[in-house]
């Protein structure tokens, strides 16, 4: 038994632990998987609720006001009240909607989110599953999310929803290219598709500065393009309030609307976490190659904290942009991607390849 526990905790990811247990005792493994499931659901809900709260508070302080104040200390329970209310609200299905697709759409949206969350290494010992094709997996499953949006907009049988969904589809397909190209830069640097290995490869320095201009440019492109994928200002065309009423989720109410709402915020976390993992070293502390004493001091801060700090910083950045900028127009959005970001991404990829060939890293 002791050996088993030791084996379980030596394993890095949830799936490895479950495998380790499964080889020994089926019921223990089943219990472990159940526990893991509950933890994941709780993690997602708490993360979503706190992100909504943070967003509302940050927005309020950007706008010289206070934000939620009445429910709990400084309104800290506000989003819980919102969640309970949304869960118990009447669920309306429009008469002429396509019922099955209408039900499926929010589930697909949240499914994509949860799947993408699985592979992100939160700390060296906390990761659900460490796939050797992690990046490809993320790029693949995040595509399901837009399918949910498209289905939702189409099945609502509402012209505004349809317009919003079509915008979302066009936007996602376009910006996915830039996102993938900037992901490739990090893959080139690290020489692996496995996320844990990408993090390990940044032990001597984060790719954002170790990879010269290529890393920095890839990071910026990734931030811009993934903000567009998140449907947030200045790219919030699919749900542009002043243009399309509610966009693709105009007809959704109650629980199903909260699924869209939740997946949007968890997606924001995923994008921030991915950016942190690929370019800012994930849970890896701030290291400078060669300065061993400095690195040792940095190692004192737990890796989970490093990861949380980096992710929080990028989330704040995304929120800052949202509450500052106006919105682009549809054709301007497309022009930005196809005429500016895409060529830049390709050029950057070639530059990254040159950097690798010449091995001209900082602190190699």
């Amino acid at each position: 038994m002791r050996l088993l526990v030791q084996k379980t905790f030596e394993a890095v990811t949830f799936s490895d632990r479950a495998n380790a247990l499964l080889s020994d005792n089926f019921w223990l493994a089943a219990g472990f998987i159940l526990l893991a499931l509950i933890t994941t659901v709780a993690f997602i809900s708490i993360l979503g609720l706190s992100l909504v709260y943070v967003e509302r508070k940050i927005a309020a302080h950007f706008q010289c006001r206070l934000g939620p104040m009445r429910v709990g200390w400084h309104g800290i329970l506000q989003t819980i009240a919102d969640a309970i209310k949304l869960l118990l609200k009447e669920d309306i299905v429009p008469e002429r909607a396509d019922r099955i697709l209408f039900f499926m759409a929010p589930v697909l949206a949240i499914l994509a989110t949860v799947l993408a969350l699985m592979v992100i290494p939160l700390s060296p010992s906390l990761q659900v599953v460490d796939l050797n094709i992690g990046i490809v997996f993320i790029a693949a499953v995040s595509g399901i999310g837009v399918l949910g949006i498209l289905l939702g907009g189409w099945s609502s049988n509402n012209k505004w929803s349809l317009l919003g969904a079509m915008r979302a589809g066009a936007q996602f397909v376009s910006y996915e290219i830039s996102v993938t190209l900037s992901l490739l830069v990090a893959v080139l640097f690290a020489g692996s598709l496995q996320l844990s290995e990408i993090v390990q490869s940044q032990a001597a320095g984060w790719w954002i500065w170790r990879g010269h201009a290529a890393g920095l440019v890839a990071f910026i492109i990734f931030c811009i393009a993934s903000t567009a994928e998140l449907n947030r200002t200045p790219f919030d065309l699919p749900e542009a309030e002043s243009e399309l009423t509610g966009g693709f989720h105009t007809e959704y109410s109650g629980l199903r609307f909260s699924f869209f709402f939740l997946s949007e915020f968890i997606n924001m976390f995923i994008v921030a976490a991915l950016a942190a993992t690929l370019f800012l070293g994930g849970w890896m502390p701030f290291h400078i190659g060669g300065l061993d004493s400095f690195n040792a001091v940095m190692d004192l801060i737990p890796p989970g904290l490093w990861f949380a700090g980096k992710t929080a910083f990028i989330i704040f950045l995304i929120m800052w942009v949202r509450w500052t900028f106006p919105r682009l127009r549809v054709d301007q959005l497309m022009r930005l991607e196809w005429k500016f970001l895409l060529p830049l991404s390709f050029a950057n990829l070639i530059l990254a390849a040159c950097v690798i060939l010449t091995e001209a890293y900082f602190f190699a």
Binding site: R70, D82, I84, K85
Partner: protein, 222 residues
Amino acid sequence: MGLTKEKIAPAAEKIPGVSYLMTRMDQVINLARSNSLWPLTFGTSCCAIEMMMATGASRHDIARFGAEVARPSPRQADLLIIAGTIVKRMAPRLRTLYEQMAEPRYVIATGACTISGGPFIYQSYTTIRGADEIIPVDVYVPGCPPRPEGLFYGLLTLQQMIRKGETIRQPGVRRKPVLCALPPEITLADIQKEMEELLKKDSEVDVEQTRKELAWPTGLNK
């Protein structure tokens, strides 16, 4: 009265403790609902500016009560703040908007026009004399237009009403409404008591039936 009691079979109440639990659950649910009133962005005229002042302006900031998440789509909104005059052409649209909102839904009527027709009662061939001719109203906020503080008072009154479980309605049937701006010494309970006495007979009004019976109030001429 409450939500859980409607859904759970009465037989379950006989089990000891269930009744207590349900009451507690109702309280929690009502607390959550009262603290998360997302308004619909709806406004027709002057009152809408004061409503925007209340919801938007940093000085007043309705966000403190958790009600700043203004939803443009009626499906996701809980609170319909009728701000501004309702005319004949708008009336069916207002009715549609109300029907598109998901239960539980609450209505605040702000301003003289939505309460009675305001300055446009006489000689106007379109103005509806009070939004409650069209949809049931929970709280009235008088003023022309009411100050943002007045709207907050209305919102807080509505929150109190929800916590007491007083606004759950059957479709098509409505309770008599409560006026929000009370003088300081009169409490909500007093008004309710008085109303119950006065309106014992028709404490629940069938909207369709009343409309048929009640012609336009010609008595107002005097």
